[in-house]
Structure formats: C-alpha cells, structure tokens
C-alpha cells in the first residue's frame, strides 16, 4: 500500500500511533535503566567496601612477622595487630 492513497488525517493518526509506541518503549527503557543504576551503585559500594576490608587485612597480615609491624600498623592507621 502506498501512502499517497491515504488521507493526511489517516497518515497523521498512523504517525501518532507509531510515536506513542516509541515513547512507551522509551519510558520502559528509562525505568529499567533507573532501576539498574540503583542496583549497580549499591553493588559497587559493597564491592569497594569489601575490597578495602580485604586489602587492609592483607596488609595487617604482612606486618605480623615484621619487628616494626606494630609501629607501622599504628602509623598506617591499621590499629593494633593483636586486635
């Protein structure tokens, strides 16, 4: 079917229907994106916190056999190695 057999009114209605479909699809995508963003931000925060805890634990372990370990732990704000 060619468009020149349709009236302008019919073509406008088709456009409006197509545009509405596109906007509804966009709204769904936007909502999904917002939800995804919240989930990823929360997960990233947990991952960053867990990484910090892991690295600090490794550093503390690396100091246990060093004669200057306690002093260095204090200097590096890692608390006492005996805690």
């Amino acid at each position: 079917m060619t468009n020149n057999k349709k009236t302008a009114k019919q073509l406008k209605a088709e456009f409006e229907k197509a545009e509405k479909t596109a906007q509804e699809a966009q709204a769904k995508a936007d909502a999904a994106r917002d939800e995804h963003r919240d989930r990823v931000q929360e997960a990233n925060q947990k991952a960053a916190d867990a990484q910090k805890a892991w690295l600090d634990a490794e550093v503390r372990e690396s100091l246990k056999d060093r004669p200057d370990g306690e002093a260095l732990a204090a200097t590096l704000n890692l608390g006492s190695l005996s805690d």
Partner: protein
C-alpha cells in the same frame, strides 16, 4: 592532583551509553611509566599492556573499585570517584599513571578505557597511598 584526560573512545562510549559514569563498575588501575598513553587510539584495557604497577602489599591487581557520582556545576558536568586511601606495606609500589576503565569482569580486551591521569613518577614503600578524586573527568558546555 593533575587533571585527568579523556581517551577519545572513552568519551564516545560515555556519549553513546556504553559506559554509564553514574552506574558502571569503574576501576582505577595504576600503571608504570613504561606505558605511553595514546588518547586518540587506546580504547580497551589490553592497550595498557603488561604495565600494571606491582610491588608490596595493599594494591589489588586490576585496580581499585570506585564508587562514582555525576553532578553539574554551572556549565560543567563533573564525574567524581570516592577518594582512595590505602596502606601499602613492603614495596616499592611504583607507578606513574592512573587509568579509569569500565570493569566487565572478563577479558582486558572487553574493558573500555575512559580516561587517565598522570601523577608523575610515584614510589610508595610502607606508607599510605592517598588519591583524591574530586571533579575528575569533566565535560563543559559552551
């Protein structure tokens, strides 16, 4: 801190949505001075070569996981990462560059580079590594 620079493809990926600076898992990897940044060409983490910093205890292979936020001030879009403060023992941990990339959890060839910062030659032994990330990568409207 020195002003970070965009990789051209990093900017493209931000613009087309492949990298969501507000939500992507972004890491800061420390790179030695043997790497030469190519802003126009380098696009994925494998372009960094075998130049990741190492030495001592406290630096995680692959870099630090960041928490990120976007904000607008006047005409400038700012991307911030949380500051890093990490004790390093032993060493030296020697590095010059910090490179921001999207970490996908797989091959380095899949991780998009975003930008980098030149810290100058750094060497840390039995000390705290402090990196302040305030208003890092920016885009300014004109």
């Amino acid at each position: 801190m020195a002003v970070p620079k965009w990789y051209a493809n990093g900017l493209l990926n931000v613009a087309n949505g492949a990298v969501d600076l507000d939500a992507a898992t972004i890491k800061l990897i420390l790179i030695t001075s043997t790497y030469t940044p190519n802003q126009a060409v380098h696009d994925f983490r494998d372009d960094l070569g075998a130049n990741e910093a190492s030495g001592g205890t406290g630096y995680p292979a692959g870099g630090f996981t960041l928490t990120n936020s976007l904000s607008v001030s006047s005409l400038t879009l700012n991307w911030d990462g949380a500051d890093i403060s990490q004790a390093i023992t032993g060493g030296p941990l020697a590095f010059r560059y910090g490179v921001f990339y999207k970490a996908r959890g797989g091959a380095a060839s899949a991780d998009e580079l975003i930008g980098y910062v030149d810290f100058g030659a750094q060497s840390i032994t039995d000390a705290t590594l402090n990196i302040t990330l305030t208003n890092q990568l920016t885009i300014t409207a004109s």
